[in-house]
Each structure stands twice: as C-alpha cells, then as structure tokens.
C-alpha cells in the first residue's frame, strides 16, 4: 500500500515558496538529516510536531526518537511539522498533502505517524495536521491502509480530550517502549487495524483508547473487555540512555538553536503545581564525565557554538560544579557558550551562572512563583522573601543588570494580598538593582496564570475565574509601571482553553473537532487563536465549560485520567493537597522518602542511581 505514494517533486513544492513567509521552514536539507532508502527499509515512521518548524526543531524529544529510530537498520524515521497558516493555505489550494522534510513523501505514505502531544494547545493542530495529510481524523474511520497514529509527550497523561483521534498513546518514556510498539505492529501489520490494536494491548505502557469507555458522570473510563488493562503504568528507563550526538542543525533560525545534553530527568523538589516534576519521577542523573564527552562529540558533529544542559532543576545535579568546571576547561578558547536553564534562587546557583557568564550577563531568572512566603509554602516553593532579596543583591553585585521574575497568578488559596506581595517584591528588587547597579537595571516580571494539571497535587483545584484573574492582572499593570520595569502576562482566553483541554474527558472530542471545523488552530498563539471558534463549538455541543473549569473536584471522585498511572499515587497527592491547605511544606525527597509511590511501583527497575534515599526502598506509608 505504502509503495503507491511517491515523493512530491521538488518543483511542486518550489512553486509555492515565493508566496509564503520564511520558506526555509518547508524544505529540509538540514545538516545531519538522515536520508534512508525507502524501498529497502522495512518500516517507515513519520515523527510529527504539530506546530511550526521553529518550535518543532527545538523539541528535544523528537530529536531523541529521530536518533533512536534511525539507528535501527530496518527503520527509517523522517520529520514533519505543521506549516504556518499562509503555507497551509497555499498547500490546500495546490492540493498538496503534508510531506516529510527528508524525502518529501506524503505523511500518509508512512506506516506509523507519531505525533507529539507535548502540551494541550496542540490538539486542534493535530487535527489540522491529520487533515492536511489526507488522513481521516477519527481512529474509527481509519483502517490498516492508514498510518497507525501514535501520541506521546506530557499531554498523554490525560489524552482523553483527543482519545478518538489517536490509535494508541505512549504513557511515559517512549525510549523504553517505541521499539516494542514497532515490533508488535510489524508482527500484525497484515491484520485489520482492530486486531493490530488488540495486539498492542499486550505491550506495557501503551494505552489504546478504543478499548475503554466512559462510565459515570465524572468522565472516568473503564475497559470494555476483560483483556484490557484497567490501569496503565507509565514506562520508565532505569537510567538515562546515551544522548543523541549527530543532532540536527537547522539552516534557518529556530527557537532553540543549539546543542542539547539532558543532564538530569525528574525532580525531587515537589512543587505542587508542577506536572513535569511529578510525571518524570524518579530523578536520574547523567554522570558528569559522560556529559562532558557527549557535549564534546555533539559540538564536533554539529559545529554548534552553544550547548544547553537540560534538566528541570540544574543546580540539583550532584556533580554540577565539577561538571561546569570540566566543560569550561574542555571548551576553553573554542568560543562555546554553555547555558544552564532552571536555576534555583540560592547563592550556589548564582555562583554557577557566574562561572558560565564569561563576561556576558544577559539576564538572570528567578522563579519565586508566588509573591508571599505564605503562598509559597502552599505551593511548596521553599524560599523566603528575605533570602530571595539576599540572592538578588548578589546577582546585581556580580554585574547582572536584568533580572527576570516569574510568577503564577490564580494559585489555590491566593488572595489580593498575594498580588500586592508580587508588586512589593518587584519594587524591592528593582530598588536593590538601582542602588547596586544603577539606572540600567531592568526587572522583567512575567506572570502566567496557573492551570491545575492532572497528576499534580493541585489536580482537584478549580481554575481561577476570569473576573478574578483579569482584576489581578489589572492591579499588576497599574502598579508595575515605570522605568526599568516590564510586565508580561497571559490572555485569559488561552489559559481557559489550556485548563479545559488539560483536565477534560472524552466528551471534549466532539468539541475539539467542532472547534477545528470552525477554524480553531494554533491555540497557543495569541495572534492565531480563535476564541469565537471555540465558543461556537461549546454551543453546538451543549458543553458546560463552567462546570469543567470552575467546579472543585471532590477528593474521592473518579478523575478522567485515573486509568493512567505516573507511578506517583493519587493517595500521595491527596495527602499533599491537605498539607498545602494547611500551609505545610514537604521536604526535598532526596532528604527523606515521602512514599510518593515510585519505589513501590517500580520494584524491579530501581537502581542505585536514583536519588531516592535508601530508607525509602520498599517503604509504604
């Protein structure tokens, strides 16, 4: 079947390029792109990121799978991204289907189409991508002649709002399961789709939504037959796999245009709003010596002049300082800059940033998340205002002039006083900067609106309502004005949609499809989002948005994502939610085990490399 698809001639693509912005997005040709022979390679996989090239090329998960799959002799993996609206219009007018950037083959020609669902605002783009590829949107309307549509990424920890459009979701770390998925599919490739999917039920960590149905009023789902697992535990690698070396080097500018080494996965801090921290447990570190060798090999293979050390909390790497010293030593005189995102508010982190600055001090970032000590305790972000000011003093003293402060608005238990505290804190930091560094000081305050996410302590909390959020944003705008102060915030329309899609259930599938048919796409983009398309979709489906967003969940009610298990137990989150309401902190779990569930759920996977303390192994609360 797939052999009937030929590559799209270059001339056909070329004929559209003079009519669109940034045509370099649509042509491929990147250094380190992998071109394998189609006819003689058994399995053809298309990796898709359903947003524009600049974002998709910056997604490290896609880079990992591109490397992993192409390393298999009998698999070829090519890439596609969603074109921007101007190119989509040109392609539709020319009846040109979505194609991959390596062989310019139509996406529909591939055996498996793996689509990143990294975040919720990509969902209407998934439909746009399928439609542009000429693939029926709903799994029920597809058969074995269509690519198997696989979803992966953080969004799959509650994929229910788009469950009807995918054949299978990977729960957890796809590096651990992708090849098993492919092998199982191969063994059943000549069977009807239904039989293929039934076979995939036997692979741990795969969620096949077809074999589940909603039960009861809360949108939770249960298996439709006894062979279906009632709960799917995420897949997990005991240790970090080797980092990709021959990383793609884009020809056009992209969001993150640099080499990447993932130095650590998971986080022990337990911030109660943070989904990434919860679903990527346990912590696994890459040893410093391996990081240095990998970084060196990547820079040789790519020519990049910057390497980013990826993790959720860089300073928590146990060898971070010797690691940076070794990297600086290795790359001395070679014009390589090293970037270290996600630093904590502490003087040790300032030391680290200082080591890397090499004279260039573009801006320092703090993420206090909340304005007052009390609210920071509720979200388990253990930093006192006075300590924060002391660290800010150090930052300015060492020569930084720009300090970025990240906050969230609408956190559970937040009052107007907490907003006053943000304002007060920003002004105090600014005064410090002016006193130490002078008039060039700039404070950038970024306030995003909190969205309660599945598989977090705050998963039961309602979204803050529009009136409250917009009143508090107005307060910030009014009070954070003047020289050296800059404020940015989220539009509520986008937040509301994110919250709805993050916590929705299967009833949202018809709404997502209706919104897409009404023209909703690129929901993460302020300039392209269409709230009207969504409003019409809610009306058409008779969907009660307010109930979905603003009703606090009862602790004992079934949740739409209860059948997907991150390894962290719901009981742990329940206890932690009560601690939050009592204003109690929970210590870093490297110090003592809080029995989140990881250790009991992965007894055979545990290695001494995990940061879990010894006494936690085998313990139950």
């Amino acid at each position: 079947m797939t052999n009937t698809y030929h590559p799209i001639p270059w001339e056909t693509i070329e004929a559209l390029l003079h009519r669109v912005q940034k045509p370099g997005r649509y042509v491929g040709g990147e250094y380190n792109a992998i071109h394998k022979p189609w006819e003689t390679t058994d399995t053809h996989i298309c990796l898709a990121f359903p947003d524009i090239y600049e974002l998709g090329m910056s997604n490290f998960a896609l880079a990992i799978f591109y490397d992993l799959l192409n390393a298999q002799p009998d698999i070829l993996a090519e890439r596609t991204y969603l074109p921007a609206p101007d190119m989509i219009a040109q392609m539709r007018q020319a009846h040109l289907p979505l194609y991959t950037l390596e062989s310019y083959r139509p996406v529909a020609a591939f055996d498996i189409l793996a689509i990143s669902t990294a975040y919720e605002q990509l969902y209407t783009n998934v439909l746009e991508l399928l439609d542009l590829a000429g693939i029926p949107l709903r799994a029920a309307d597809r058969d074995a002649t269509h690519p198997l549509i696989v979803g992966g990424g953080h969004g799959t920890f509650n994929p229910e709002p788009v469950a009807d459009f995918f054949d299978v979701f990977v729960i957890g770390e796809a590096e651990a399961v992708f090849l098993e998925l492919i092998d199982t599919w191969r063994a059943h490739r000549h069977l009807p789709r239904e039989a293929q999917l039934r076979a995939l039920l036997d692979v741990p960590g795969l969620y096949v939504p077809r074999f589940y149905q909603p039960t009861g009023e809360f949108g939770a789902v249960t298996p439709t037959d006894p062979a279906t697992p009632a709960r799917i535990l995420k897949r997990l690698l005991p240790m970090l796999p080797p980092t990709p070396v021959r990383q793609l080097v884009p020809n056009v500018e992209v969001t993150h245009n640099r080499a990447v080494v993932e130095i650590q996965r998971g986080c022990t801090r337990g911030c109660r709003f943070c989904q990434a921290g919860a679903i990527t447990r346990p912590v696994r570190e890459r040893p410093a010596a391996e990081i240095v060798e990998s970084a060196s090999a990547i820079l040789d293979a790519t020519g990049y002049e910057e390497v980013a050390l990826l993790s959720l909390s860089s300073a928590d790497h146990s060898e971070i300082k010797p690691l940076l010293e070794a990297l600086l030593d290795r790359f001395k005189g070679r014009h390589v800059s090293i970037s270290l995102p996600s630093l904590r508010i502490e003087s040790f982190s300032v030391d680290l940033a200082d080591m890397l600055a090499q004279g260039r001090r573009s801006g320092f970032t703090f993420a206090p998340e909340a304005g007052s000590d009390a609210l920071r305790r509720r979200i388990n972000k253990d930093i006192a205002t006075e300590d924060l000011l002391a660290v800010a003093t150090e930052v300015f003293t060492r020569g930084w002039r720009t300090l970025k402060l990240y906050f969230m608005l609408g956190l559970p238990g937040e009052t107007d006083e907490d907003i006053e505290a943000i304002i007060d804190l920003a002004h105090r930091v600014r005064r410090l900067g002016l006193d130490i560094g002078g008039r060039k000081t700039e404070i950038h305050v970024s306030v995003s609106t909190f969205v309660p996410k599945p598989h977090t302590t705050f998963q039961w909390a309602p979204l803050a309502d529009r009136a409250t959020v917009e009143r508090r944003q107005a307060l910030l705008r009014e009070r954070l004005r003047g020289r050296g102060l800059r404020l940015s915030w989220n539009q509520y329309d986008g937040t509301r949609l994110e919250a709805l899609l993050a916590r929705g259930d299967r009833r949202l599938n018809v709404v997502v499809e209706a919104a897409w048919r009404n023209g909703a796409r690129f929901d993460a983009w302020d300039e392209w989002r269409s709230p009207e398309a969504w409003e019409r979709a809610f009306d058409e489906a008779g969907f009660d948005v307010d109930d979905a967003l603003y009703r606090p969940r009862a602790e004992d009610e079934p949740l739409p994502w209860d059948h997907l298990h991150s390894g962290v137990e719901k009981r742990f989150f329940q206890r932690d939610y009560r601690r939050s309401q009592a204003g109690e902190l929970l210590s870093d779990c490297r110090e003592s085990c809080h029995a989140c569930g990881i250790l009991v759920n992965y007894p055979g996977t545990w290695t001494a490399e995990w940061e879990c303390p010894e006494q936690g192994v085998g313990s139950k609360e």
Binding site: P23, G29, N251, N257, L299, T302, G303, H335
Partner: protein, 229 residues
Amino acid sequence: MNDESPLQNPQSKIQNLRYRITFATRQTLAYVSVLELGKIWERSLRRAGMPLKYSQGYNPRPKLHFAAPLPVGCGSEADLMDVWLETPVDPAMMLAALTGVVPQDLSVIDVHAVPEDEAALSEQLVAAEYRVWLRDVAPETVQSAVTNFLNSDTLALAKRGRKYRGKTYDLRLLVEALHLEDAPAPWIGLWMRIHARPGATGRPDEVLKALNLVDTPRRCTRSRLILAS
C-alpha cells in the same frame, strides 16, 4: 577544533589569514537569509576544524564577509566570501576539510588566500548576474514585459528601510541587461545583470515586481558576481 591544526602549510613564510571561498547554494539553501547563511558557514567551518578568528567583546562573532547578501529565494553558482583565521591553513586542505561537513545543498568550489590589505569584497563588487526561471506564464507575456521595461527611461521605486522613508531610487538605471534565454521545459528563462555597488544595488525580485511577475513561480540563481578588476 584541535589545538594543533594538521592543516598548517609548512612552506608558508608569511601569515596568510584571509581566505576567499567560492561557493554555490541551491534548492533548500536558496531559502535562507544572509544572517542564516552566515551561521551555516560558521558552523560548517567549525565542523571542518578551522581556527576561525572571532571578534573581541561579550558577543564574539567570527569574521566572515560576504560579497553581497543573497536574496531569500535565490541560490548561487559562484558566490564569494572572505573568512579570517587565527592561524594559517593550506587553502587546498581547507577545501578538503570542508567537503563532507557542509549541508547537502552547499558546495565549495574554491578556496584561496587573499592579501590582508585587499579592499572588502562588497567594495569591489560592481554587478551581479542572475538567472531567473519562470513557469506557469506565457513566454509572450514575459517578452512584452521585458520590452516595456527596457523601453522605459526611468522607474522610480521607494527605497527599503525606515530611514529612507519617502526616498526613491531608479530601478531602470540599476538594470544593465535583461533578456529572455533558453531554459529547460517547463521554464521560461530570464537573464539579468544588475548593478551591485555600495548604495546602488538592485535585486531580482524588484525587477520581477516591475515586470508584474511577482506571483509567478520561479527558480532564481545568482550565476556570477562581477568585481572591479
């Protein structure tokens, strides 16, 4: 990227640190901006292990000078770029080292050393020749547009950029030659030679606009850069 470069030419007595690279770009690389092409070159030269000379300061940049920016949408057959190194390298070895480490649609045609005190390429440039192939348009339409263009004495266009707001320039004066030429089907070939002097540089897309062919699918190639001899 090794400290001791194997590419040193033991015979060289004077320090030759400025090198001229003649290169071609096609297909995918026709769609990058001049800034992006600069980055592509920087990374290619780093992969080749060339000891690039970087500027001083907080944001060091390699010293790379193009003769003229290539318009987005335009490839080239023989574009020129000067690059400065920290230590001398045999040009033939540089050429060999670059082979295999440049993107698929970039080819390196020649590398040779040039005197440090030679004028910048952009100052030596006088004109550029372009081959623009068009399709989905009748040859007669193109021919009559060309005839009209050549018969007009002057063609005032607004200057690009904010600081030139309200200022115009004469595109007709910038076009030295323009005619149809043979091209393989389905293309209709157009050949042009355009002034490329500092402060008086024309671009092929502006000529196409003047010819009313702006929406016509095309393949554009800069075939030659002409330097003052």
